[in-house]
């Protein structure tokens, strides 16, 4: 049985809060580049970008894009061949504040790959990480700067994260494991 | 031991089916068919239950490559003879493309002697038409004919006698001793670097084509030459529908031409080349389905006279490589009868009497080989093959008795099985198994060289 932990409204509220926190920590919208990690991270990045534009209508310098990490993964030999998604880095990232956006933070390996990929595109002055859900179980010394919801879970449990743009409906649920 | 064997040299085969469909016991004694009829009995004769087995006259292969002398890693006269016996043959004609080439009396006599020593089958050497198979100068055809090997079939097989003048002279010359030229019909210029049948498939696979016309044009030329000089022509391994038409035309015209088809050209098609598996590389190449059908029809209507194996053993490394580098040829002695069964008997093109004709009577007659290819009648030499047409097996390397494993039939299901082969009255195969070389050689020396 899946248990819903975030509704669509919860998700919207979390993203609004994260957008505020990003602006606060960056002391405004200047030099911000928001890069989503495909697939759902790209959707979340776009929403954060739009939210920031609503909060700061005068901000014209904020940019949004996507950063695919498939070709940087360290598990390529262990799984089926993955088809990469497009990377669209809007302009130079040199000296910028890059906010990486992903849906669920788990082992940290995706973010490790993203940091490597980012380095091949340029040299940002600051890199931050925003995630909608942090479920723990890190395998690398990586942490998120902005978290929608901390969701301590066992490794047997499954987190389902649906977004309207990619899945047609929107919620975060947890299923399986002993808690089910 | 020899004493005991002499007592046992009689075999009473019970309940065999003769090629004409009649059922008969067959008594083999004194190297001959001693008695025929039902309910025979003979004290001391070894009984053989042949219920359900077809008794064919010992098979005769007009086209075998024994590889000795020169390529003993591929086959020897002994191992090739064993393969032949296993396939139900009691005689093979050994092609001349050995090293040294069988182009002198000395070499053909050596091959003859090796065959006698082995004792499994009569090994009848073929002589080369030209010195070294080079196509330029006639070999000593007369000396080979007059030698102890009594050569009557001459062939440069592996190469075509392409020069029309040399071909004319050869056809004329062998009339002196009732010889025949067995032509490997392949225009060399039209088949430079050829790798497979030329057609839609060769276009797709990017393999240089071996066009049917390269065979047909040589056959057309040769039948006209044979007509012009009034000689006898035999066409080796006919492989195309067009060749069948040309030969049919020539026969209707009264030209003295005979033709052979291989078992593989009766069964297999060029589609097998798709995986570039060199086991299917052979010369002439596997052709289209239409060609296979025309060859079957030609064999059934007598346009094609005989089936001959073109048994061509090769060492593993000659096939375990890219297509272009691979050797041409397939082993065929052990599988021949089953393949003929599958390709032309099972579908009614031929009955067992026809099989006796195309695999025994006629090849012996074309090759002027006495003591072989005779009907199973009282007084005939005891050359006999017992074949179980109801058997079926997945053909494997265990079915091969020669050195070569380059069979295209491995892992294919083939009908039938040779249960026993008798040569000069003694068995070379019993219960489907080859008898040991020492036993066969002993039996051979017992019956003498007559």
């Amino acid at each position: 049985m899946a248990r819903t932990v975030l509704t669509q409204a919860d998700i919207t509220r979390a993203l609004t809060r994260i957008s505020h926190e990003i602006l606060e920590s960056n002391r405004g919208p200047d030099n911000l580049v928001i890069l989503g990690i495909p697939t759902r991270g790209v959707v979340l990045a776009r929403r954060i970008f739009e939210t920031i534009q609503r909060i700061e209508p005068s901000a014209t310098d904020v940019r949004v894009g996507s950063l695919d990490v498939t070709l940087y993964r360290d598990d390529l030999s262990r799984t089926r061949t993955r088809t990469p998604a497009p990377t669209q880095v809007p302009g130079s990232i040199d000296g910028k504040t890059v906010v990486l956006v992903d849906d669920v933070l788990y082992s940290g390996r995706t973010i490790r790959a993203a940091l490597d990929a980012l380095g091949d595109h340029g040299r940002p002055s600051i890199v931050r990480l925003a995630v909608l859900v942090d479920r723990g179980h890190r395998e690398l010394p990586i942490r998120a700067d902005f978290v929608g919801k901390n969701l301590p879970s066992s490794t047997e449990e499954r987190i389902n994260l649906h977004l309207t743009e990619t899945d047609g409906d929107e919620f975060v649920s947890i299923e399986g494991g002993n808690g089910a | 031991m020899p004493k005991e064997r002499a007592d046992n040299v009689e075999y009473l085969i019970r309940g065999a089916t003769l090629p004409d469909g009649t059922r008969s016991d067959i008594l083999l004694a004194g190297g001959r068919v001693a008695e025929l009829g039902s309910g025979l009995s003979r004290a001391g004769a070894s009984p053989i239950d042949a219920d359900g087995l077809v008794a064919l006259p010992g098979l005769v292969d007009l086209h075998t490559h024994l590889r000795e002398p020169g390529s003993e890693q591929s086959e020897t006269v002994l191992t090739g003879s064993q393969a032949a016996a296993r396939g139900g043959f009691t005689s093979v004609f050994a092609m001349a493309n050995t090293s040294p080439v069988q182009d002198t009396a000395g070499v053909v006599e050596q091959v003859l002697a090796l065959g006698e020593q082995a004792g499994y089958v009569t090994v009848q050497p073929i002589g080369a038409v030209t010195v070294g198979l080079a196509g330029r100068q006639l070999a000593e055809l007369g000396a080979m004919a007059a030698s102890r090997a009594r050569v009557r079939v001459f062939s440069d097989d592996g190469s075509c006698v392409a020069d029309p003048l040399i071909m004319r002279r050869a056809l004329e010359y062998v009339k002196a001793f009732d010889g025949v030229i067995a032509q490997h019909a392949q225009d060399p210029r039209l088949t430079e670097k050829a790798q497979m049948n030329e057609g839609a498939l060769s276009a797709e696979l990017g393999l240089t084509g071996w066009p049917a016309v390269a065979e047909e044009s040589i056959i057309a030329r040769d039948v006209l030459l044979a007509e012009h000089v009034g000689s006898r022509l035999h066409v080796c391994h006919v492989s195309t529908a067009g060749s069948v038409d040309v030969i049919r035309w020539a026969k209707a015209r009264g030209i003295n031409v005979t033709a052979e088809v291989t078992p593989h050209h009766l069964l297999l098609t060029e589609e097998l080349v798709v995986g570039y598996d060199a086991r299917f590389k052979v010369n002439p190449p596997l052709r289209r389905r239409e060609d296979v059908e025309a060859l079957r029809a030609g064999l059934a209507d007598g346009t094609i006279d005989i089936v001959a194996t073109d048994h061509a053993p090769h060492p593993t490394e000659a096939k375990d490589c890219e297509w272009d580098a691979a050797a041409n040829g397939m082993v065929g002695l052990e599988s021949a009868l089953s393949v003929v069964h599958a390709s032309v008997v099972a579908n009614g093109h031929l009955d067992w009497a026809d099989v006796a004709r195309v695999l025994s009577h006629t090849p012996a007659r074309i090759g002027r080989l006495d003591g072989q290819g005779r009907r199973t009648e009282v007084g005939a030499p005891a050359e006999l093959t017992l074949y179980d047409p109801s058997a079926s097996r997945v053909f494997g390397t265990g079915d091969l008795s020669g050195k070569g494993v380059n069979s295209p039939y491995l892992a294919m299901t083939l009908p039938g099985r040779v249960q026993a082969t008798f040569h000069q009255g003694y068995p070379t195969v019993l219960d489907g198994a080859l008898l040991p070389a020492a036993e066969v050689a002993a039996a051979r020396s017992e019956v003498g060289h007559g």
């Binding site: 262990r78 091949d120 | 490589c321 890219e322 297509w323």
Partner: protein
């Protein structure tokens, strides 16, 4: 994808995935760091039984951009020319731990034999076998056509309705064969134009049109015209009387180039015989994709190497 041996067996979806990945790979070429760590620790052997510096360096660049280790094994002037068999060479490479083998061989089918032999467990890429196929050339040609037609919006697109005329030595051309299968799979219509001696004797199994008249083909206004290289050895084998007559009949000279539809793309797999199958004006014009083809070759080969060598080999 376990091996890349032929374009005949590639499905439309597989082809589009590969071309899309090649787009990602092409993007890498525009970045500050033109290298990906994707195939770190993998070993790619370029096994060339036939000289082809262009193809070899293209594969070498592709493999290196993906951080693979590259071993160039030129079989010319090595033990292979002294009679070492394909089998022994393959087993040697297997013992060295090759993950991928890019093979160029003069014998049609040699890559397939290698892939199915059991001699080596590596992914095999056919870099041209005899007169059979040259799949990565066709893929880069398709990629080039798609980019010219659709630009930045190429991802996910096929070549539906695109007309491609391929001119020259079709009989001996592995490029022609690979393009035939791939382009038709992607929805293009392929027409071949050649002297009758340089077409296969039986083309009934090829989903294409055939003609002898280049002028008629040009007047038909194809979207793409692809000129094939004429090999020097054909000239001495009576396929046509002499180079002059060939160029008159089947060369893309200045006059024909001028008559060509203004937006037709001119392609050539290289190396070109200028003045024989193609004039300098045509080769160097803005409509010519000759240099793009070279650049795109690296991207497409990166995509092929990625698809073959990433992922669990047992799984794919």
């Amino acid at each position: 994808m376990r091996h890349l041996l032929s374009t005949k067996t590639i499905s439309r979806d597989e082809a589009i995935v590969l071309l899309d990945i090649a787009e990602d790979m092409a993007d890498v070429a525009g970045r500050e760091v033109k290298k990906l760590p994707t195939l770190r620790g993998k070993t790619v052997v370029n096994l060339f039984f036939e000289d082809s510096t262009r193809t070899r360096i293209s594969f070498e660049a592709a493999a290196k951009r993906l951080s693979a280790d590259v071993i160039n094994f030129s079989a010319k002037g090595s033990s292979v020319s002294k009679g070492e068999s394909l089998k022994d060479t393959a087993q040697t490479l297997a013992a060295m731990g090759a993950d991928g083998v890019v093979i160029r061989h003069h014998a049609s089918g040699a890559p397939l034999v290698l892939a199915e032999s059991g001699w080596i467990d590596a992914g095999i890429i056919n870099a041209g076998d005899g007169t059979h196929e040259h799949p990565t050339q066709a893929l880069l040609d398709a990629f080039t056509i798609r980019r010219r037609l659709h630009g930045a919006a190429s991802r996910g697109r096929d070549l539906d309705g695109v007309t491609v005329t391929i001119v020259g030595d079709v009989l001996h051309s592995r490029v022609a064969r690979s393009n035939l299968w791939l382009l038709t799979t992607l929805g293009a219509q392929v027409g071949f134009v050649a002297p009758p001696t340089l077409l296969p004797a039986d083309t009934s199994a090829w989903p294409a049109t055939f003609g002898f008249d280049l002028d008629a083909a040009i007047d038909a206004g194809p979207d793409v015209i692809m000129m094939l290289r004429i090999q020097a050895e054909r000239m001495s084998a009576s396929f046509f009387p002499n180079p002059r007559e060939y160029a008159r009949g089947w060369g893309l000279d200045d006059e024909r180039f001028a008559r060509l539809r203004a937006d037709s793309i001119v392609m050539h797999p290289g190396p070109m015989n200028r003045g024989l199958e193609i004039s300098s004006a045509a080769a160097d014009s803005a409509r010519s994709t000759v240099l793009e083809q070279v650049a795109n070759g690296v991207s497409v080969r990166m995509a092929a190497l990625y698809l073959l060598l990433s992922g669990d080999r047992e799984d794919s």
